[in-house]
């Protein structure tokens, strides 16, 4: 057994850590988040140049290998720095689906552009009625000669505002919640009938609601077989879930570290508040949460890689446990910071917001506990 990163993975982690330390301090991040795109195109180019965008892909797709474990060093450091650039929705999720389901032609056309930072993608899956059930797709794709017509409404599409192409999950057959009948389509956001409402999420990440009204899509834009997309969707969402778990583990470590720093310097009744034993034991419990979370992350990552990327119970166990840890560590970090912890001015408050979002992204703690049970 070996839980250490390989040399390549360690170099990757170091490279992301250097970027975060040098270019992504709290004030720089604020400027990025408050900018037009909700992320920095310049940073994105850096990601491409440093090869990070190749991490999620297999070598034959122009990537670095594409193991689940490879995502960990990148996402953890992103979590510590609260990086908002759309690595997860664009490269891991939408890019991953393209690599998983796309034809050679489709891949050849789009993957190089993605990896070189020239193409923004997003995956539009969730819908207002469906919460976290990936099979609850009501968006319809009806045949129209050698085209399809798409109609539906997609909720809170991560990177949906900046994306040039969308991967859309739509129903070519069956009813809401049927596992069969779901297909994937590449949709240009400039197509007639696509409406977007862009916004920033509470955690600073960009997103959009997207409406499709009689959007005409060529058959060649379908990714993979008609009606058979759900297993691939589940596989890629599980992979993205692992990635967001890694981000959470990084963010929790950072929240604990900042809390330790703060309580060591902040004084009350003439003593640093870190000297109060009741608070000490709570920080010990935060530490335990961080460590148990990290263990679950490693468990799920190794299970995914050992099982060809399909390990739903392992992923759900990890998401459930890490969600609980994210809640506890985030809330305690804010509480132990006192008043300043609930202001927009402090980094720990933004870690808390992101740790809240990750509890719900790709399924809440409750959802994943139930999925683990069944």
């Amino acid at each position: 057994m070996d839980f250490n990163y390989s040399e390549e993975q360690q170099m990757l982690a170091d490279s992301v850590r250097r970027f975060v330390q040098q270019d992504y301090d709290f004030d720089s991040r604020r400027q990025v988040v408050d900018g037009e795109d909700f992320f920095s195109r310049a940073h994105w180019q850096t990601f491409a140049e440093l090869g990070w965008l190749m991490v999620p892909f297999a070598e034959e797709d122009g990537g670095l290998g594409g193991n689940a474990v490879d995502l960990l060093p990148v996402m953890e450091e992103f979590g510590k720095g609260m990086v908002v650039e759309p690595f997860l929705p664009c490269a891991v999720l939408a890019g991953g689906l393209l690599a998983e389901c796309g034809s050679d032609t489709q891949k050849a056309e789009l993957l190089p552009a993605l990896v070189e930072g020239r193409l923004q993608l997003a995956f539009a899956f969730a819908e207002p009625q469906g919460r976290f059930n990936l099979a609850d797709i009501d968006c319809r794709a009806t045949r129209d000669g050698d085209h399809y017509r798409l109609n539906g409404h997609k909720s809170v599409v991560l990177n949906g505002g900046a994306a040039e192409q969308l991967v859309v999950a739509a129903r070519t057959g069956g009813d809401r919640c049927d596992r069969e009948g779901i297909s994937l389509f590449l949709v240009d956001v400039e197509s007639e009938g696509v409406t977007r409402r862009r916004y920033k999420n509470v955690d600073g990440h960009g997103a959009a609601d997207i409406w499709l009204r009689d959007v005409r899509v060529a058959e060649a834009a379908r990714l993979g077989e008609e009606g058979k997309a759900l297993p691939a969707i589940e596989k890629m969402i599980d992979r993205a879930t692992l990635a967001v778990c890694a981000e959470a583990v990084g963010a929790m470590d950072s929240a604990l570290e900042k809390t330790l720093e703060y309580t060591r310097t902040r004084k009350q009744f003439g003593r640093p508040i870190a000297s109060f034993q009741a608070l000490q034991h709570r920080m010990a419990e935060m530490f335990i949460e961080c460590e148990q979370a990290r263990s679950m992350l490693l468990m799920a990552a190794t299970q995914l890689d050992a099982n060809g990327g399909v390990a739903p119970r392992a992923v759900s166990a990890a998401k459930s446990r890490i969600g609980r840890a994210a809640r506890a560590v985030g809330q305690e970090a804010v509480q132990l910071h006192g008043g300043i912890g609930v202001t927009d001015e402090l980094d720990v408050a933004h870690l808390f917001k992101r740790l809240t979002a990750v509890q719900y992204l790709f399924g809440s703690t409750n959802f994943h506990t139930a999925r683990f049970m069944h």
Partner: protein, 401 residues
């Protein structure tokens, strides 16, 4: 042992209901029920309606304009207001400075300040906390140095809620030098916010709203006649007040309304097939929260019953603060869970006056995340829950420091 209402109490409840039904403006009600920000004008408009009814100051002595209601009537009033969606009374004038003025102020101070508070002509804010004092009020640094018949005030107050609207601020300031024992060096001062030398800088809380502020005092001249009671006894006045303030802090009616709202929303929220209310884990959490709220309600009733038989609410009332905030935060999390993905969009402007675009997501899903973020303050402000546990240890359990 008797806990049901008698006939007189039932009649009173009907009277309250009828009044709220007729008098509460629909736009204010809508904002309250949906958990949206109220503007200054909203608060003042509603308070003036209460003033005209004679119900503005529920807790004041009758001689200064109070209602003279007993504890049961006050509980009925609070409950009905919460059910109806009436805004809460902002506490700073009505519940915080006024009792200090009518308990410890001079006759002249009472006549000068109380009528304007009662009529909501003047907006007050509170100047207790300081950037490095937190829950440790005795270590205040803001100084008030005597200069003839004025004090010269210097320092910074923080976490001053809605100071951007305030006409006056009440402050704890240090009037004694370093040779004076900490708690005897502090005085209670009323300061006109228009005084030269005062600047207000907003602090944005987690929901993006500048709910609290820093208030800076730079050589601000305050007439000595604005000091309440004796010099050096300000901490005593403030402390008595803090204990009295404990009843009502359980916020049972408000939390119950939000709990019921969560149940209704969950019944309408699909969960990829069945509703969220049919989700066993969610339903269990909802039930446990409801049970905890019921326990809290009766803990508060027991405290009120003790008050009504002449016992002052003791340090046991720290439970009301701890459990009151914990249960409210649990309910916040139920709403967060209901909102799901639609809690994530951060578009606070859609919850403000004058927004005429389409909301994102169903109902006010996104508002519930903002509220969850904002309400993390509840267990920190007003004596953090850790401080409340210290109080229980010392004053109730007899455990030394």
């Amino acid at each position: 042992m008797e806990t049901s209402f008698n006939e007189g109490e039932l009649a009173f409840r009907d009277q309250v209901r009828a009044f709220l039904h007729d008098a509460l403006p629909a736009d204010i009600q809508r904002k309250t029920l949906r958990g949206l920000h109220l503007e200054k004008e909203d608060y003042v408009r509603w308070q003036k309606i209460l003033y005209r009814q004679g119900w503005a100051a529920v807790n004041w002595p009758v001689e200064y304009g109070g209602t003279g209601w007993n504890a049961t009537q006050k509980a009925i009033w609070a409950d009905e207001c919460a059910r109806a969606g009436a805004p809460e009374v902002l506490p700073f004038g009505m519940k915080m400075v006024a009792p200090v003025i009518y308990s410890y102020g001079s006759e002249e101070q009472k006549q000068r300040f109380l009528p304007d508070i009662l009529a909501s002509n003047v907006w007050w804010c509170q100047g207790y906390s300081e950037p490095n004092a937190g829950s440790d009020l005795a270590s205040l640094k803001t100084t008030a140095v005597r200069d003839g018949d004025h004090y010269i005030v210097n320092g910074t107050k923080t976490w001053t809620t809605l100071a951007q609207f305030a006409d006056w601020i009440f402050c704890l300031v240090r009037t004694g030098g370093p040779e004076v024992k900490n708690q005897q060096a502090i005085s209670f001062l009323l300061v006109d916010m228009k005084s030269p030398g005062i600047t207000v800088s907003p602090i944005h809380t987690l929901d993006g709203y500048p709910e609290v502020n820093e208030v800076h005092f730079n050589n601000v001249r305050v007439p000595v006649e604005n000091r309440i009671g004796e010099e050096g006894r300000g901490w005593t006045y403030a402390k008595v007040l803090l204990t009295h303030e404990r009843t009502g802090i359980a916020r049972v009616p408000q939390t119950r309304r939000r709990l019921e709202a969560a149940r209704e929303l969950a019944a309408e929220t699909g969960d990829g097939g069945p509703t969220l209310l049919e989700n066993p884990a969610f339903a269990q959490k909802l039930a446990e929260t409801e049970i905890e709220l019921l326990a809290l309600e009766y803990t508060e009733l027991r405290t009120l019953a003790a008050v009504s038989t002449g016992q002052a609410p003791g340090p046991e009332s720290s439970i009301l603060k701890i459990k009151g905030t914990e249960v409210a935060q649990q309910v916040d999390e139920l709403h967060v869970e209901i909102a799901g993905y639609y809690g994530m969009p951060f578009v606070p402007e859609q919850f403000s006056d004058g927004f005429d675009g389409e909301h994102i997501g169903p109902g006010d899903a996104a508002a519930s995340w903002l509220r969850y973020f904002n309400n993390r303050k509840a267990s920190i402000y007003g004596g953090s829950n850790e401080i409340q546990k210290n109080i229980i240890c010392k004053a109730v359990l007899g455990l030394g420091g």
